[in-house]
Symmetry: C2
Subunit: 199 residues, 2 copies
DNA sequence: GTAGATAGTTACCGATCGGTGCAGAACTGG
DNA sequence: CCAGTTCTGCACCGATCGGTAACTATCTAC
């Protein structure tokens, strides 16, 4: 076991720096966020970034983790709601809230990243694909349970319902990126939820 | 009125080249499509591209035009349907078809472009923003007419309905980019259309 | 033929990309 | 003080970015 502190201590707060990096990735996507833009926002030099986070891909991965545990924690929280309807309502509300957070870039880091990152950047792509798939499975499993509990009709299709919710959520996020206001988004979400359970 | 043909004739078909460029932009977005990738796909040199299309932004603009008049003509066609319900159904079907065209990149050139292009590229951004706004207005005006004609209830909100249709369409396109199959998408669209008119 | 115009090829431009080598600065344990 | 370790600042790497100058090739008009 090495000593707790060895060598020169770093002159910046790694957590704050990661937060800034997350915001840059959120706004510009993976490829659009240059090292210069990232390190400038983080307030550190290239070398310090590499020493602290590895490289651009690892930095993105850590920023994505921070994102899904912070501003985009709503998918995990929503499935804990008491009823399937509440799950869907909270999921859509969370997507809208995250996509229109004041002081943050409009839209979703994961979505922008998914559409931005090139084939060549395997690790980042895989992380995003995994995140999408897990999101779908989480919703689907929750709706399965709702069917078992009688909260949803016995002939309801949990897979379809999960995909429906994700589709509307993604659509709302895209609208938010285009400048649609929270109020307008909320009315669309309400309209979508008048159809419940879908299918 | 200059002479019809002057100087050395070009050795490639500009239309075919533009088609290839459109596919590259479709797959990689604006920033992700490098000049090398574009000209290689087009089968011409950089210089020929510049002589024929101006520069990258103009090439994108022309590719986008070709896109909305070709594979993505469905928004214009859908509003010509006889009823509001058919308009929405055809709009969603068109979005799904375009986003899953065999032999073409999954998803939508306009959507990928909108999420990919940086602030710095004004012209491309503006063209995409205009395209989105026109799409919304086209749908909204069509649903207004439907209200006037009694095809939609007098208290229906054309703006909301248009936004709803666009939201679902965009969500479906995102799903398609993630690998969701046509059949699965169609079931989501069906579910969304059970709720009609929305709101 | 020649003059004029446009297309094609090659090689290159400065800027920026992600990533590093190196030397010195700042810390801990002796 | 010293040795050992880690962080920082700066200059720099090769590769690629969008875009272009110079030259040659191929056409029309006369």
């Amino acid at each position: 076991m090495g000593n707790a502190q060895l060598g020169r201590p770093r002159a910046f707060d790694a957590d704050e720096a990661l937060e800034k990096a997350m915001l840059v990735f959120w706004e510009h996507g993976y490829e659009g966020a240059s090292l210069s833009a990232l390190t400038e926002a983080m307030g550190i030099s290239r070398k310090s970034m590499y020493a602290a986070f590895g490289n651009k891909e690892e930095l993105f991965h850590k920023a994505l983790l921070r994102y899904v545990e912070g501003p985009a924690a709503y998918p995990v929280q929503a499935v804990q709601a008491a009823t399937a309807r509440r799950v869907a309502t909270e999921f859509l509300a969370g997507a809208m809230r995250t996509a229109t957070l004041p002081g943050h870039p409009p839209g979703c880091l994961g979505l922008r990243g998914a559409l931005t990152v090139d084939e060549s950047v395997r690790a980042a792509r895989d992380a995003l694909a995994t995140w999408r798939i897990e999101g779908h499975e989480r919703l689907r499993d929750r709706f399965r349970r709702a069917v078992d509990e009688g909260d949803l009709p016995a002939d309801a299709d949990p897979d379809l319902i999960a995909r429906y919710v994700q589709t509307v959520a993604n659509g709302l996020i895209i609208q938010a990126m285009g400048g649609t206001t929270r109020d307008e988004l909320a009315r669309v979400a309400d309209a979508a939820m008048r159809n419940w359970p879908p299918g």
